[in-house]
């Protein structure tokens, strides 16, 4: 942003008494009702840039809407920028993985900082991301990009050679994932050369990395002007199935180390505004291994859990932090202290253990447990269970809230194995 503009904005802000609407639009990149609601609650005028399918719905409900196909690479970003600029948009907030570089490109234009776009690309190419982390001295596993099956075979062999495996030993797994997909989409662990044959041309290029031991957790970090405004730590009970916020006391006690690691990450990736969602593995001795980082709304209902545990809307927080014009004071008023959670909020994403659903059974002892909050499961009218993509499309979620992290973990582990669908 150039100086005179900055001044202009400041004068604008000064002339706006608190609570009045801010005169520029926030562009929400991606379709997310909670984000729209959050923006509405903040009394920030907004425009939604979403898949064209949502146009009718947006029109019906008077939502300013620009239809956009995110997965089609095109030269049209300039058109999108001009369209948004004409509407008066100045901030772009990415909501989904596929929207991150679009938001990056738009913010680069809004703020006239071309490197914002490059930084966003860093978050969209897992190979580049790892390399950047490694250069910055962050502990990562051994990794390589693969272009074909031979690359994968070679990598699996060399990693296990380095682990001093001899013929007949069981191989340690390596992990393969697409370079640009959200979370666990397309992820597979391979410990047998025969499994490599199952990969198809569509799976390449991909990122391979050695297996990292340790307890996995994620952070949701609200960053403004490069400073951590709020650090949430989410404890994973079973990746993709269950997690809770804030973490149990053992993990919580590592918060200072974790905060240090995050600061290192923010510096390395030159992150200025918005939310980041990195995943780490922590060893019993406190050593942290960096998994990956995204700059979007995390999965696993984590934003909902944060709201339940701390009482603030994570969606609102994301929008506030994404806007460089948000004041220090606004942020201080918004975020609670990190150690002031009201309790533990957890959720279990239920996926049927069967391929055809006859009926749904919810045990009474679940509904009667004091930690039980709600679930959203109904017997699906069509019995056939869809194939799972990543950790998405689960059949329902059960929400818990309580004051004991050990009981929370026990519930999540117990019901993870329960057959809700028969």
């Amino acid at each position: 942003m150039e100086l005179d503009q900055l001044e202009m904005n400041q004068t604008l802000e000064e002339s706006q008494p608190e609570g009045k609407t801010i005169p520029y639009l926030t562009a929400l990149i991606g379709w997310s009702l909670p984000a729209i609601e959050a923006c509405d609650k903040l009394k920030r005028p907004f425009v939604v840039v979403g898949p064209p399918d949502f146009k009718d719905y947006a029109e019906k409900h008077n939502i300013t809407f620009v239809g956009w196909e995110f997965d089609r690479l095109n030269e049209g970003s300039d058109k999108l920028y001009k369209q948004l600029k004409a509407l008066g948009a100045e901030v772009a907030v990415p909501l989904y993985e596929e929207c991150v570089e679009w938001a990056g490109a738009l913010n680069a234009r809004f703020r006239q900082e071309p490197r914002l776009f490059n930084r966003s690309l860093l978050l969209r190419d897992k190979g580049m991301m790892k390399r950047k982390a490694q250069i910055a001295g962050i502990k990562v596993g051994v990794f390589e990009e693969a272009r074909d099956k031979d690359d994968v075979k070679r990598f699996l062999k060399r990693v296990n050679e380095a682990l001093l495996k001899v013929d007949g030993d069981k191989y340690d797994p390596i992990h393969c994932k697409p370079l640009d997909k959200a979370g666990s989409v397309g992820h597979r662990a391979i410990d047998n050369p025969a499994d490599i044959e199952a990969l198809t041309d569509n799976d390449f290029p991909l990122l391979m990395e050695s297996h990292l031991d340790g307890q996995e957790f994620s952070c949701e970090v609200f960053v403004h002007k490069g400073q951590i405004q709020f650090l949430n730590i989410t404890e994973y009970v079973k990746l993709g199935y269950s997690n809770f916020v804030p973490p149990s006391p053992t993990l919580e006690s590592k918060r200072p180390v974790i905060r240090q690691a995050i600061e290192q990450l923010i510096e390395a990736f030159e992150i200025e505004n918005g939310v980041i969602h990195p995943e780490y593995f922590i060893m019993p001795d406190g050593t942290l291994h960096f998994g990956e980082v995204a700059a979007r709304v995390p999965g696993g209902h984590i934003f909902d859990l944060i709201e339940r545990a701390y009482g603030f809307s994570a969606y609102e927080a994301q929008i506030l932090c994404s806007d460089p014009n948000t004041t220090e004071e606004e942020l201080r008023k918004f975020f609670p202290a990190e150690d002031e959670a009201n309790g533990y909020a957890g959720c279990l994403m239920v996926h049927p253990h069967v391929t055809y659903i006859e009926e749904l059974t919810i045990p009474d002892e679940l509904e009667e447990h004091p930690f039980f909050e709600k679930h959203d499961m109904f017997t699906p009218p069509q019995g056939k269970v869809a194939e799972r993509v990543g950790f998405g499309n689960h059949y329902g979620t059960i929400f818990f809230f309580g004051d004991d992290s050990a009981e929370m973990r026990r519930l999540l582990e117990y019901y993870e194995k329960y057959d809700f669908y028969l």
């Binding site: 009702l33 609601e37 719905y57 947006a58 019906k60 409900h61 009926e359 959203d376 017997t379 009218p381």
Partner: protein, 655 residues
């Protein structure tokens, strides 16, 4: 096992509803799930409906149904309610809530912009009438085995709603439903009978004497219209009693049973018992039982010996409906057509193939009859009630239309192909010089025939269906609508050779629609076609649309006649092979089966409304009237109706 209602459950529901109503309109879907969940918890309890009903006037305003299929109550359809209630999960919950909302509107708790109190009440009455089996569950083995999903909950809902409905309004709906069905004089009366049986339950609670009387008459028509038949419901006991009657008493008994049958088109097993007895002991009383007119009587007297033979072979307590068929057969004078008598005799001794025999037995289980008896009874019904033939649950409208047409105008031909199918297991037709044998064909539209059909259809439809499909396949690539050639070849030379269709076969576009409309008026409308009468039924193709005018597909009906209705407006009277001919096609186009001058079994529509759903028809090229004379306004009206309904699915090129 219903669970307990607790204050907690009520509070949670109330909170979820409040949260939903506070949500901005675009975000309702985020909060609806919680409302459905909490509602479901209440629905599992005995008092749940009562509690939910207290909130029902807030449902619409809060957005409980927003952005879903239940959003606009004016678009809901009573026949779909039962299906949703039996669906698993979410549709069931929403349907329950939607009915409570409807009750709230009907009770004046909520004012709705598009649904009035009366409309809501009508809706609920119709839902009740359609679901009497749930309102008055019968403890039969069948209902036990076929226990439906959510049956207890649905029953609770209907009983809850019925507390708010007047039993007389409900009876009124029922009576209308029965009248509507009987007016169509179907051969298959299973549905009518089951509704009457359930209406019997209503008699207990009804205070209204007129209604009671009407309902009682219907009940009597299937359970015994006379005192004696009412008293002795078992056929063998009734027979014993009949033996003791004097001729005068038999005469009176015959009159009573006969009148009931001709009034409703329904028979009780007693009709067969009496017919058999009269045939043997007092044949002179048969015209009284059949309530024959002069013409029918003459026909009876001329062919008395054959009639006795038919009664003996075909009329049994379980085939009692054919007593009515026999009466109408005589009225129609079918026996005077020379091939009919030998044709019927042939059926008595026909060597029916085992698979056909099995199919006939399967549809008439446990009756202890021979397959020949079943088939002959079926033939009597079809020849007596040609417009009572229905396609049942099969997509075989063309075959049903053929059977109906031949029964009307070519009974000899019909009696030719029935033995071909029943004895030889095939039917052949010549198409453009080539013989087509059904035996050699596979597939057809209904390879798995649903067996709830009359015996003639059971025997013929599998063959007719395959032959029709084969003919259509042979002309598929001619670049014109194949019905042009197939209909005359399939149905016979009664079908006119002129043919017009609204869809351009190669492009699938609609071109010159006004020309199509004018041609139909000029060839069919008495005011423009030089008053040529329609002589044989005209098989035409129509677009079927739902109540919202949305196109569902194509359907085959036959125009029977075009005439002025009692009010003086021209209507098209047509045969609809669907078992129920009164249908709502949207845009206010509702085909009726009574009250507009229809003969039994006919459906009818005003001329222009019928035209607006037409897509193909045959005409006699030598009998064209003045297409230019057709009023511009009429054409424009038809076009608007067409364009705004099925027309939305097509590209309109010109005109």
């Amino acid at each position: 096992m219903p669970s307990e209602v607790t204050e907690g459950k009520i509070a949670r529901f109330s909170q979820s509803l409040t949260k939903l109503s506070e949500a901005p309109t675009y975000a309702k879907s985020r909060y609806q799930t919680d409302v459905y969940q909490e509602a479901n918890r209440l629905l599992e309890t005995e008092e749940g409906l009562e509690i939910l009903f207290k909130y029902a006037d807030r449902f619409d305003e809060a957005g409980v149904f927003q952005d879903g299929p239940w959003e606009d109550p004016s678009k809901l359809q009573p026949p779909l309610v039962a299906g949703s209630l039996q669906a698993k999960g979410l549709p069931y919950v929403i349907e329950m809530l939607s009915n409570l909302r409807m009750l709230a509107i009907a009770e004046g708790m909520e004012e709705h912009p598009t649904v009035s109190k009366e409309m809501a009440m009508d809706f609920l009455n119709e839902v009740m009438a359609l679901n009497l089996d749930l309102l008055f569950p019968q403890a039969t083995e069948a209902s036990r085995i076929e226990k439906k999903e959510n049956a207890d909950e649905a029953q609770r809902l209907f009983q809850f709603i019925s507390r708010y409905l007047s039993s007389s309004a409900l009876s009124e709906t029922l009576i209308h439903e029965i009248k509507r069905l009987t007016a169509q004089r179907p051969i298959m009366v299973k549905r009518t009978v089951s509704i009457i049986k359930m209406a019997k339950e209503m008699l207990k609670s009804n205070e209204n004497d007129t209604q009671k009387e009407v309902l009682q008459q219907y009940v009597a028509s299937i359970e015994g219209p006379s005192n004696l038949s009412h008293l002795y419901s078992q056929p063998n006991e009734y027979r014993k009693q009949l033996m003791n009657l004097s001729v005068e008493e038999l005469q009176r008994e015959s009159e009573i049973l006969g009148r009931s049958m001709r009034n409703t088109g329904l028979c009780s097993p007693h009709h067969s018992v009496l017919a058999r007895l009269l045939s043997r002991k007092s044949p002179e009383l048969l015209p009284a039982l059949l309530q024959l007119s002069g013409k029918g009587k003459a026909n009876f007297e001329e062919h008395e010996e054959l009639v006795h033979q038919l009664i003996k072979v075909a009329l049994f307590p379980t085939t009692c409906q054919s007593v009515y068929g026999l009466a109408l057969l005589l009225e129609r004078g079918v026996l005077s057509a020379s091939p009919v008598i030998p044709g019927l005799r042939r059926l008595i001794e026909l060597d029916i193939r085992p698979e056909v025999r099995n199919a006939l037995f399967k549809a008439n289980e446990g009756e202890g009859l021979t397959a020949n008896s079943i088939l002959l009874a079926g033939v009597i019904s079809v020849l007596g009630q040609p417009l009572g033939v229905g396609q049942g649950l099969n997509p075989t409208c063309q075959a049903a239309r053929g059977i109906s047409l031949w029964a009307q105008h070519a009974p000899g031909y019909l009696l030719e192909i029935i033995p071909r199918a029943a004895r030889d297991g095939e039917i052949d037709m010549v198409f453009e010089g080539v013989n087509i044998y059904s035996k050699d064909l596979q597939g057809g539209l209904a390879p798995e025939l649903h067996p709830e059909l009359d015996p003639v259809s059971i025997v013929l439809v599998p063959h007719l269906d395959r032959i029709y499909s084969e003919m259509m396949t042979r002309v598929a690539l001619r670049g014109e609508d194949g019905h042009r050639w197939v209909n005359p070849a399939f149905y016979g030379n009664w079908v006119q050779k002129g043919f017009s269709t609204v869809i351009e076969p190669i492009t699938g576009n609609i071109a010159d629609y006004p020309g199509f409309v004018r041609l139909f008026y000029a060839t069919h409308h008495p005011e423009y076609n030089d008053e040529y009468e329609l002589i044989y039924p005209n098989p035409v193709g129509i677009f079927i649309t739902n109540v919202h005018g949305k196109m569902l597909g194509f359907h085959a009906v036959s125009i029977q006649r075009i005439a002025k209705c009692p009010k003086g407006n021209y209507r098209v009277y047509f045969y609809n092979p669907n078992n129920d001919g009164s249908q709502n096609w949207g845009q206010g186009i509702v085909s009726t089966v009574m009250g507009n001058g229809e003969y039994f079994g006919e459906s009818s529509l005003p001329f222009d409304e019928f035209t607006s759903r037409l897509y193909a028809f045959h005409y006699n090229p030598y009998e064209q009237g003045d297409s230019y004379a057709v009023e511009q306004d009429s054409v424009a009206k038809v076009k608007t109706l067409a364009k705004e309904s099925w027309g939305k699915e097509y590209k309109w090129i010109s005109g």
